[in-house]
């Protein structure tokens, strides 16, 4: 549905987006990650046709965004950063205006308004003026505007920014549900959101894509991915560590925490492929030694580690 090829955008001497390419198909939810100023918003603004690219090509549903902007924009729903709306209108007035611009008429218009108001929990405020609304409501209003015409493609710039935890959860559920039938791109700073919602994630840094894959694939690139975490009680940490180090596939054993009552250790396998083997070996050892175990699990790796490792190459992520 969305195809971005060699997209570049400069602002004067500054390169905001540098030769990025990716595609999003129907049924995919793409998470856009990156530090502030990495080029996330600029990329989204180009896809939605708000600013023209310096070089490269974007098509939405087969329509070139620069050459056939109206056809492309018809397929798009867009939630801009900071969720702008006309503050001097009522909620219903604002949504009605958007419905007019989307060419909705009669019964279809009414049905679309009802659906959007319902999906974004705006029933209580429909007749209220936008400038009396709290930030969370304004955000949901702008969200409602984006999904009003049931678009095939949704672009959302930080859709959960400024919402309380309950609202965040609701918006995530909504995005996930809509993602089954639409092509969705959204940007976020919240890494759990990516794991909860996205079928794929792209990490972008200084205008370039540094990682592109499913959340599970990305997590495997983390330092701790595949290592085994073990917590035992009633044993001195050093003794446990010494035993663990004698296991075959182990590269390194680290003590994460220790107290007189027990210890928590991390066993890093010699290679990532030996993760399962290491877990089995540790479990065997535990059984042989009759240790009292509180926790034993293989770590999946953490997105925040991957994120930091990729976007802050100068600082080594902690082990």
């Amino acid at each position: 549905m969305i195809k971005v090829e060699n997209l570049t955008r400069t602002f004067g001497p500054k390169v905001a987006v540098n030769d990025i390419s990716f595609a999003v198909e129907r049924g995919e939810v793409l998470g856009f990650l990156g530090p502030n100023g990495a080029g996330k918003s600029t990329t989204m603004r180009m896809i939605t046709g708000f600013i023209p690219p310096t070089a490269g090509r974007i098509t939405v549903g087969g329509h070139d965004v620069v050459e056939q902007p109206i056809a492309a924009k018809r397929l798009l729903g867009y939630l801009p950063e900071n969720a702008p709306s006309y503050t001097d209108m009522t909620v219903l007035g604002f949504l009605g205006f958007i419905a007019d611009l989307r060419g909705l008429k009669g019964a279809a218009r009414q049905a679309a308004l009802d659906r959007a108001v319902d999906a974004c929990f705006l029933e209580n405020v429909v007749h209220q003026s936008v400038d009396t609304l709290s930030k969370g409501y304004r955000h949901r209003l702008c969200f409602a505007q984006a999904i009003l015409h049931d678009p095939e493609v949704l672009i959302m710039d930080e859709p959960t920014d400024g919402l309380d935890p309950n609202q965040k959860h609701e918006v995530r559920t909504l995005i996930k549900r809509m993602g089954e039938k639409k092509a969705i791109i959204f940007s976020t700073h919240i890494l759990e959101e990516v794991e909860a919602v996205c079928s794929r994630a792209i990490i972008i840094d200084r205008g370039a894509i540094v990682a592109n894959g499913t959340p599970a694939q990305l997590k495997l690139r983390g330092e701790t991915a595949g290592s085994v975490l073990l917590r035992v009680t009633g044993q001195p940490a050093d003794a446990v560590k010494a035993k663990l180090e004698q296991l075959g596939p182990v590269r390194r054993v680290g003590v994460v925490a220790q107290s007189p009552a027990g210890a928590q250790l991390r066993v890093v396998p010699a290679s990532r492929e030996q993760a399962a083997e290491t877990l089995a070996a540790v479990a065997d050892l535990v059984a042989r030694e009759h240790w009292r175990v509180e926790e034993l699990r293989a770590e999946e790796g953490r997105l925040d580690e991957v994120f930091r490792g990729l976007t802050m190459p100068d600082t080594k992520p902690r082990a």
């Binding site: 939605t48 801009p80 001097d88 209108m89 611009l101």
Partner: protein
């Protein structure tokens, strides 16, 4: 074409609604009516003239509009930029031209409404004597075109900045230039230093020169063309400014 019309209408409807959603519209209309009343009857010597015409009414419009029209139009685009709704508007399936025309027409319709509310002046002059109503209609047409020209200039300056005050000042200065270029003291000065060609050229740029005919009841095609050109040029420039702003 039908769709373009629908888009323009939706944008104009919203814009017009936003005038009346706040006290702005009412304050503006009241001030406008008070000022036209004051200038017509007190400063313009409506009664002293002893003639049944609205000469003393229309005479002041170029000066009155100088401040009132930029005040009515300064928020058109700067507000969109300040609120961030420009991004919303321009990612809808509408063209920039449709948005520019829609907003301009809404604002112009608002000014037309304010102007139409001066009808008591027309009733008064018809009650007191028997004026040539054809001349008065021409005066109203000219006044509306004049307001449109000022408004188009304000549209342009409003697109330049997110600050309404700057938009206001810039448009007052540009409109003032268009007024002064045809003001007798200025044209007289240019004629006295012998620059007749320059005088004619500068005077031709002025709204005063072209508004004069309407006041006398003459609907000259060239005067209409002048105002249409100013409006067209300024709205076109507004489009260029918006595009340049997006292109960074």
């Amino acid at each position: 074409m039908n769709e373009a019309f629908a888009n323009i209408r939706a944008i104009a409807k919203r814009e017009l609604g936003s005038y009346f959603a706040s006290p702005v519209a009412y304050v503006f209309i009241v001030i406008f009516l008070l000022l036209t009343g004051f200038f017509t009857f007190m400063a313009g010597g409506f009664f002293e003239r002893g003639e049944a015409s609205l000469m003393s009414f229309f005479l002041w419009h170029p000066w009155l509009y100088l401040f009132l029209v930029p005040a009515a139009g300064m928020r058109l685009w700067s507000e969109e930029r300040r609120l961030g709704t420009l991004e919303l508007l321009l990612t809808m399936p509408v063209t920039a031209a449709q948005a520019i025309i829609g907003k301009f027409l809404a604002s112009w319709a608002f000014l037309a409404l304010a102007l139409a509310l001066t009808f008591p002046v027309w009733l008064t002059v018809n009650h007191l004597g028997s004026p040539d109503n054809g001349v008065i209609v021409a005066g109203y047409v000219g006044s509306l075109l004049l307001a449109g020209a000022y408004l188009a200039i304000t549209c342009m300056t409003s697109a330049l900045t997110r600050n309404q005050v700057i938009a206001f000042i810039l448009s007052v200065v540009i409109c003032l230039f268009l007024v002064l270029a045809g003001w007798p003291p200025v044209t007289g000065f240019l004629a006295s230093v012998g620059a007749t060609g320059l005088k004619d050229f500068v005077a031709a740029l002025s709204v005063m020169t072209h508004f004069e005919g309407f006041q006398r009841g003459v609907l000259d095609f060239r005067d209409v063309l002048y105002f249409a050109t100013v409006i067209g040029f300024c709205l076109f420039t507004t489009g260029v400014i918006i595009r340049t702003h997006r292109a960074g």
